[in-house]
Symmetry: C2
Subunit: 217 residues, 2 copies
DNA sequence: GTCTATAAGTGGATAGAC
DNA sequence: GTCTATCCACTTATAGAC
């Protein structure tokens, strides 16, 4: 990586605008200490400018957080979507492969070291930021549950899966993702381990195998 | 409840010491806004004394939080312990009853409206307080996983349960509790709904039924 | 677009009278 | 054990020179 601490989340490090540098620094600091504990001075010092200069790019401290939230909730929302093209190919690929592809698509976005710091920021601010809370409820909870409910409904129709309540199956399957997320971003997070480790991937693999064995018709 | 907003967490409301009033007020305010956002002045105003008087009872703001953490982590740690007496009665009570009793013991502590505010405080401060983080890893994660691993090991020995890896079974069973906790205290928490609602209990019930059907030998 | 200087407010904490 | 008064470090944010 480069000479400074801040791993950039934007494309070309050499051509970063000051606004992008500010956002990078803010993300880095907030991920470590939380939004309240980070001051405009801290951010300015990390970027290498005076605090008053920050206000040429953002009109308030809150606007910095809002920009981070708006920029990345859109980006991260794609994580819960299933990969395009797999939709109609249920019989072709089989249950195992189907669930594996769906899970991996989800996990890869969360594992990505480029965005794991953002996940940490959103996790930290979740408790008192309505925008983040709504994002989580919608994107991390309801959307995946709805998607998996539909998928399990179809699997039941095709007699690939026992006729359980599809919503219950969606919860049984997806709740494990929330568990892994919580353990990773609340209990095990530190600045050095920014991505899911192999143990978590093994646990997910075990979960998929156990679940499939439990529901296969 | 009484004439003021603060539901006391201590025994006799009429005989609360000032220290206890301060802790109650602090818990109430922190559960709503987080520790950083609550000032000594806020706490003093809620109690009805001047901020300087706070320092006759606690030597710093941090000591207030520490007292809350120390007092309740001990209390809450009991939540993850299985009820005494059930230990050796596995054959007698059967798998369903055994798991139901274990789960209920855990859930009742979390549901208790008296302590759910404390759970919220601990959840909010989890990300930057090592003491709380250690408590969670030990009491909310490792201890329950160890306990259930042992139990499932015994169930497998007695051929009550298929011979899966007991640690994997512990994760499959207990991760749903983490999911329910996360949804409750991070996504759905607000001052009015302080306890788990019936939907969560129904979801837990579904989970237990699904799990038993999946593992029964 | 960055700087210096400063405003205006809030925070935790202490001294000393009662 | 509570009060008034005060300290001072730190915060966000603005004004205006360069």
């Amino acid at each position: 990586m480069a000479k400074n601490d801040v791993e950039t989340l934007f494309q070309n490090e050499s051509e970063l605008t000051t606004s992008e540098k500010i956002l990078d620094a803010a993300i880095d600091l907030i991920a470590q200490e939380g939004f309240d504990a980070v001051s405009i001075r801290d951010i300015a010092k990390t970027v290498g400018i005076r605090e008053s200069s920050i206000y040429n790019h953002f009109k308030s401290k809150d606007e910095i957080l809002d920009t981070i939230i708006d920029y990345f909730t859109v980006e991260l929302a794609r994580a819960s979507a299933l990969p395009a093209g797999i939709e109609g190919r249920l019989e072709e690929v089989g249950i195992e492969k189907y669930m594996e592809i769906g899970s991996n698509a989800f996990m890869e976005r969360i594992m990505d070291p480029r965005v794991s710091k953002i996940w940490r920021v959103l996790s930290i601010e979740l408790y008192h930021n309505k925008k983040i809370k709504d994002f989580f409820i919608q994107t991390m909870l309801n959307a995946p549950l709805d998607a998996w409910e539909q998928i399990f409904g179809k699997m039941i129709d095709k007699k690939l899966v026992k006729s359980y309540d599809p919503r219950m199956l969606a919860r049984e399957f997806f709740s494990f993702g929330i568990y892994l997320y919580f353990v990773q971003f609340f209990l095990k997070y530190d600045e050095n381990s920014r991505s899911f480790d192999d143990a978590a991937l093994k646990e997910l693999d075990d979960h998929i195998k156990f679940f499939i064995e439990a529901v296969r018709a």
